[in-house]
């Protein structure tokens, strides 16, 4: 009896179950980030000047480099999936490893950003010398939400690096491509979230 026949009648049925489970998981993840986005919308409408000041003071170049890194990683994983579908496993593995490397680079840049903030006296909760020098109403809210949103996102990137890295090591065969698809869907979702965090905290 194969592993697939333990719980499912066929591999196709199993693939369907995996996709549905991932859909529900991504919906719940959407709700998590929605809660943070709602806070950003509410506080930003209340303190527009403080948020504009916060955005202006943020590490725009590093945040933008991270955007390019994530977009590159998503593209490489999408191409890797197509390579796997057409039987080019070696190229697919290389591209998947490259995606994981991009994830590590993203986290390294994010840590560099945090170090820069801490050096300036910017800590979550409005603590630090920066807030003494700039006693602007709403500024602590901006930076607290920034750390909250990017921190949560960073944890998701870290999990994604683990999942993508594992997938590169254990590349599925032709009948198990839905496993790779599930990993790719999660990684693209993490990319999607960043596409909205970037403009909200770095650009405008």
């Amino acid at each position: 009896m194969s592993a697939d026949s333990d719980h499912f009648e066929s591999v196709a049925q199993r693939a369907q179950a995996v996709r549905l489970a991932l859909g529900v998981f991504l919906a719940s993840e959407t709700l998590l980030f929605t809660a943070i986005l709602a806070l950003v919308v509410g506080y930003r409408a209340t303190w527009p000047e403080a948020f504009a000041f916060g955005v202006h003071h943020n590490t725009k170049v590093l945040g933008s480099i991270n955007t390019v890194v994530l977009l590159t990683s998503s593209t490489s994983l999408a191409v890797a999936l197509e390579m796997l579908r057409t039987g080019r496993r070696r190229v697919a593995t290389a591209l998947t490893l490259f995606t994981a490397a991009c994830g590590v680079a993203f986290l390294a840049i994010k840590i560099t950003e945090y170090e820069h903030h801490f050096a300036e006296g910017i800590y979550p909760g409005g603590r630090g010398a920066f807030f003494v020098a700039h006693p602007i109403a709403g500024l602590p809210a901006f930076w607290t939400l920034y750390f909250l949103a990017t921190g949560f996102h960073g944890v998701h990137v870290l999990a994604g690096v683990g999942a993508v890295g594992y997938r590169a090591i254990r590349m599925p065969d032709a009948t198990e491509i839905h496993r790779f698809e599930a990993t790719a869907l999660y990684w693209h979702f993490v990319d999607l979230v960043w596409l909205f965090l970037w403009p909200l905290f770095y650009l405008a």
Binding site: G23, A27, G42, L71, S74, E82, L195
Partner: protein
């Protein structure tokens, strides 16, 4: 166009749009800056959803689950926007520091 080439083209398009967002952030767009930035972000997100996540090819159950998430997102943002727009009277927004808790001894 082959699927692989299509994904590479989409990737390049995403890079172009990201560059446009970055350049636009240096323009003096005033209150339109956020609208422009989020509009470009929405276009990029749509490209990722359609070409990378292949939402169009997914099963109806997957689409339903994803739609539920989006519906929750829209509902929550609409409720917050409504709450903020309908607030009246003196607001804690005018305080020089963040809102203090009711049990704050300095009150």
């Amino acid at each position: 166009m082959s699927p692989i080439r299509l994904r590479i083209v989409v990737g390049l398009l995403l890079a172009v749009l990201a560059t446009a967002s970055f350049v636009a952030s240096f323009g003096h767009l005033g209150s339109f800056a956020l609208t422009v930035a989020l509009s470009i972000a929405t276009i990029k997100a749509s490209l990722v959803l359609v070409f990378f996540m292949e939402v169009g090819k997914q099963s109806a159950s997957f689409k339903l689950a994803l739609a539920a998430g989006v519906l929750l997102l829209v509902t929550m943002l609409a409720l917050v926007a409504t709450d903020v727009s309908l607030r009246r009277g003196p607001s804690w927004a005018n305080e020089t520091t963040s809102p203090r808790r009711a049990d704050d001894s300095s009150l």
